[in-house]
Amino acid sequence: MLIWEVSTLLNMMHIEKSFNIGTINEKKVLNDLSLTINDGDFITVIGGNGAGKSTMLNTIAGVYKVDGGRILLDGQDITYKSETDRAQYIGRVFQDPMMGTAPTMMIEENLAMAYRRTKKRGLGWGISAKEREIYRQALAQLGLGLEDRMSTKVGLLSGGQRQAVTLLMATLQKPKLLLLDEHTAALDPATSAKVLELSDKIIKENNLTALMVTHNMQNAIDYGNRLVMMNGGRIILDISGEEKKRLTIEDLLKKFESVSGGKFTTDSVLLG
């Protein structure tokens, strides 16, 4: 029997996930992973390449079905729900700026697609004049001047602009959970910082619950109220509150070594 804390939003219990099952390439990627996300949590996720961070996010979003364990969202078992069913609860921004938007459609059409994330699509108009005003205001908040270019094809935007639009799309209809997978990794340092600030602002203003994967340890420390570290397909460290605020990169590296018994696997976590 499950006893629910009022504030639990997502509960991942003993998740198992392997790829290429039944072949010589079989690889266990999530190994008895458990994680409880509370309502309003902004969790940063770190871990070396191949630790299973993206896979964890993808199992939450329903891109991959798990082999074992249970995922509950708001008390509802979503373990075997499809990606499209879960889309109404989950907003996502990907590492690749190309992945989150339709390049051949206008900015406003992309936003209109996102505006309908939570509802069933029918034969009503795909975009209305009233919505355009909503989009104009939302775009204005990005501070990129995109509100004056709403009928520009998204394919003509830069990577940073596209990530900003994708971020807006993911949050236009308030998601129960926002998943950010290294969503600033492909951007130059200045743009990356800007998009990160924007993410933080949107998350705070809308009281979103979010999971953000990053390879930048300083960012992982600076943003959010909770930090988890992954290694070998499970969570090996979970720090929140005051303890997280006092964290330094050295602390994290030391903790990693003591918990995992090895060196951190990538240089990129240090370099940024």
Binding site: E83, D85, F94, A102, M105, R121, G122
Partner: protein, 323 residues
């Protein structure tokens, strides 16, 4: 000799073939799939219509059945592609091959079925003044049907579901992450496309051939692509309104038919050369962007080389800058 009659026949045929071209446009440009099902669904539309009309069905109803048959063909390809994950091209080829047998079955083991009962053409003849030439009938009907389809497609692709189709063709990953059931959407797109192709086949059989031929689908995809590309190259600047794009595609089909009609008036060409002419047109049109770019690049390089010689080389050799 190219005469007005040639041009008018190009227009008449082009308008009916344009319906097929609009179908190809939906898969090729909007869904980003080259769907070979059309080679089978085109004669399928003709076969269904011919057999049903000869069996006594009202021609309009027979046309409607042809449209449904086209939908079914698209559905099969869609299931192959989305549920069984067979690559789109191969899915289309499988349905196309299967339809060859199906079409012959429908036509009771004959390669040709002449339409002997009154067809849509007869209905039109009754409506229009007596003695209206055959081409004029095709043009009148073609214009009406094409405009109706443009209006329908314009409306449909502006709806929520229509936008989902466009988004799926543009970025499936994004569409799925926004809750679009992309598999169903792709199937829907293939059904609409093949419905149009079957409608085109049905009307060609009634207005032009007067019969259904099992071989009439050969080259349909290439003809469709040729028309789409001609329409785009000639009429479409970047951000045109969708309705204008569709009309440009229709114009492309008309121009293609007219080119073919004109080409066939040259005495050194035979009707069987039609296919190679089509292949040449399509390859040129598809290669055009690459050729254009390579010419522009070469030009720029030549200019820069000249500038390099006059400005930098002289200065560097002149001694002033040499340390």
């Amino acid at each position: 000799m190219i005469t007005t009659a040639t041009l008018i026949s190009g227009l008449a045929q082009g308008l009916i073939w344009a319906i097929m071209t609009l179908g190809v446009y939906i898969t090729f440009r909007i869904l980003d799939i080259a769907d070979l099902t059309v080679e089978g669904s085109f004669p399928l539309g003709a076969a269904v219509t011919a057999v049903l009309i000869n069996g006594g069905m009202h021609p309009v109803l027979a046309v409607f059945m042809a449209i449904l048959a086209g939908c079914a063909a698209g559905l099969v390809t869609g299931i192959f592609h989305t549920i069984f994950k067979i690559p789109a091209i191969l899915s289309g080829i499988l349905t196309m091959i299967a339809l060859y047998s199906v079409n012959i079955r429908i036509m009771s083991d004959k390669a040709t079925v002449a339409i002997v009962q009154p067809s849509v053409k007869k209905l039109m003849q009754n409506l229009l003044p007596e003695g209206t030439p055959s081409n004029t009938i095709s043009i009148v009907l073609g214009v009406i049907v094409c405009l109706a389809i443009v209006a329908l497609l314009y409306y449909f692709f502006g709806t929520e579901i229509g936008c989902a189709v466009r988004a799926t063709g543009s970025n499936q990953n994004m569409a799925r992450s926004l809750g679009v059931r992309t598999d169903r959407i792709i199937i829907l797109g293939l059904m609409i496309s093949n419905a149009l192709v079957a409608l085109s086949g049905s009307l060609i059989a009634q207005l032009d051939y007067g019969s259904a031929l099992v071989t009439m689908g050969q080259g349909t995809i290439v003809i469709g692509l040729a028309s789409v590309i001609i329409g785009e190259v000639i009429f479409i600047r970047k951000d045109r309104n969708f309705a204008i794009k569709l009309i440009a595609i229709i114009a492309g089909a008309i121009i293609y038919r007219t080119i073919i009609a004109c080409a066939l008036t040259f005495s050194f060409l035979k009707a069987t050369d039609l296919k190679i002419i089509t292949a040449i047109i399509v390859s040129i049109a598809l290669a055009l962007p690459v050729i254009k770019q390579s010419i522009a690049e070469r030009k720029l390089r030549a200019e820069n080389a000249k500038r390099f010689e006059t400005e930098f080389l002289n200065a560097d050799m002149g001694g002033e800058h040499v340390a």
